[in-house]
Amino acid sequence: MLSILKGIWYVFLHTFQKRVTVQYPDEKPYLAPRYRGRIILARDPDGGERCVACNLCAVACPVSCIALQATEDEHGRRYPEFFRINFSRCIFCGFCEEACPTYAIQLTPDFEMAEFHRQNLVYEKEDLLINGPGKYPGYNFWHIAGVQIGGKDKGQAAHEAAPVDVHSLLP
């Protein structure tokens, strides 16, 4: 009997406690920089697309919401012909970001993506691409990849040393 009254009293004491609700549209909650929200495609510091269309994100995706088609430009560099993310399927697990070898695909602290039509949740490449490098400002995959392109062999680009001749013992 006493415990019942005690319970009522403790609940009453909550009258004077701070409310935990965040009044969402009026006050926005803090989202950490590594929050897993809307997915973007980042660019290199010099403006080129980072994505090399390796398909690793599409393979890693547990709900198969990423679709892309690889193609090559005139220098022989791979890039996606189309890149499509179906956000009505996406579970924002971040596996694609973990799988990406070039820091191209990144998750951002934004979750306000509601749409009235389901079709509008399918984002094409132009919707996904942003004009910056995202979370990795100095990184340029092609500068450290050591891949030859049209006009330049391996080791001939800026900041590159000639490759080691593995068949020779000379230094």
Binding site: I4, G7, I8, Y10, V11, F12, H14, T15, Q17, K18, R19, V20, T21, Q23
Partner: protein, 316 residues
């Protein structure tokens, strides 16, 4: 003592009672939220007050569905009974000197009779729905309300002994020296518990226990018929709070403020208390409820009656 303007009293009490019942939806949600560290409805109008209007519009727009397997006429009648019986009780409730619809000399008995009739609503709703969960809810409601009715009446007899009258006005007038909550504290506690059970509110909402019976007797109801059960429940809550005020806390009696305001203040205090109880207590098991009613509350009520009778006899 009847009202100088009977029609005005009727209209006034009816309007205030129904408005209070509707407003309680908002008040209950806000208070429950307060005690759970939330805000509750606060976006429609000032402090979310217009939430009631929005809910009302919504519930009238809902499809009014009567299941094909239901007993149609009884199904429609059941929600009307509960509102009717509770509103009838308001007829004998003295709000302030002069503001009363009918000062029956057996007012208290009339209130008890009306709350007994209210059981029909729940039982018929459960039975006519032709659904096993509804029927179980109706059965539980019948058993619960009948067994708590018994000691509710007996617990109030101590007051009748002290006041020497069944008239609610006379009972209030008899509290000029001391509120009955002090000489009749046991009766007060018993009446509060019985009142909770009568209105079928948490912790005694066993007839509509969501976790066991879907929604109990009103599982099959929709639209405004469903709303009527809730209007009835909130009217019942208002009635029980008003009765506690009248019977134990001196009704309109109080210093400085006008009598109507005192009555409303006390009533809203008890309404808030009932909501606080809902916010804090879990519901007991059905057999616990029944054995509590018959083995603890009823003997206590009888002891209270006998002792009060003996004291009154010795005094005079």
């Amino acid at each position: 003592m009847t009202s100088p303007y009977p029609m005005l009293s009727i209209l006034g009490i009816l309007t205030v009672a129904l408005t209070t019942a509707a407003g309680l939806i908002w008040l209950e949600r806000r208070l429950l939220a307060l005690w759970q560290d939330r805000y509750g409805p606060n976006r429609v109008g000032p402090f979310g007050l217009l939430q009631v209007v929005a809910d009302g519009v919504k519930i009238f727009m809902k499809e009014d569905w009567i299941p094909p397997f239901a007993d149609k006429s009884v199904f429609i009648l059941a929600p009307a009974i509960i509102v009717l019986t509770v509103l009838m009780s308001f007829a004998v409730l003295p709000v302030a000197p002069g503001i009363i619809i009918s000062d029956l000399n057996i007012g208290l008995l009339f209130v008890l009779a009306m709350s007994s009739l209210g059981v029909y609503s729940v039982v018929l709703a459960g039975w006519s729905s032709n659904n096993k969960y509804s029927l179980l809810g109706g059965l539980r409601a019948a058993a619960q309300m009948l067994s708590y009715e018994v000691f509710m009446g007996i617990a109030l007899m101590g007051i009748v002994l002290l006041a020497g009258s069944f008239s609610l006005t006379a009972i209030v007038e008899a509290q000029r020296k001391i509120w009955f909550v002090i000489p009749q504290f046991l009766g007060f506690v018993l009446f509060v518990i019985a009142g909770l059970a009568e209105t079928r509110r948490t912790p005694f909402d066993i007839p509509e226990a969501e976790s066991e019976l879907v929604a109990g007797y009103h599982s099959e109801y929709s639209g405004m018929k469903f709303g009527m059960f809730f209007v009835g429940e909130y009217l019942g809550l208002t009635l029980i709070s008003a009765l506690i005020t009248v019977l134990f806390f001196g009704g309109w009696l109080g210093p400085v403020l006008p009598p109507v305001l005192w009555f409303l203040l006390k009533t809203f205090f008890f309404i808030s208390f009932f909501i606080l109880v809902r916010a804090s207590l879990p519901r007991p098991r059905f057999d616990q409820l029944m054995s509590w009613g018959w083995k603890v509350m009823l003997p206590l009520a009888l002891v209270n009656l006998v002792v009060t009778g003996a004291v009154v006899l010795a005094w005079s």
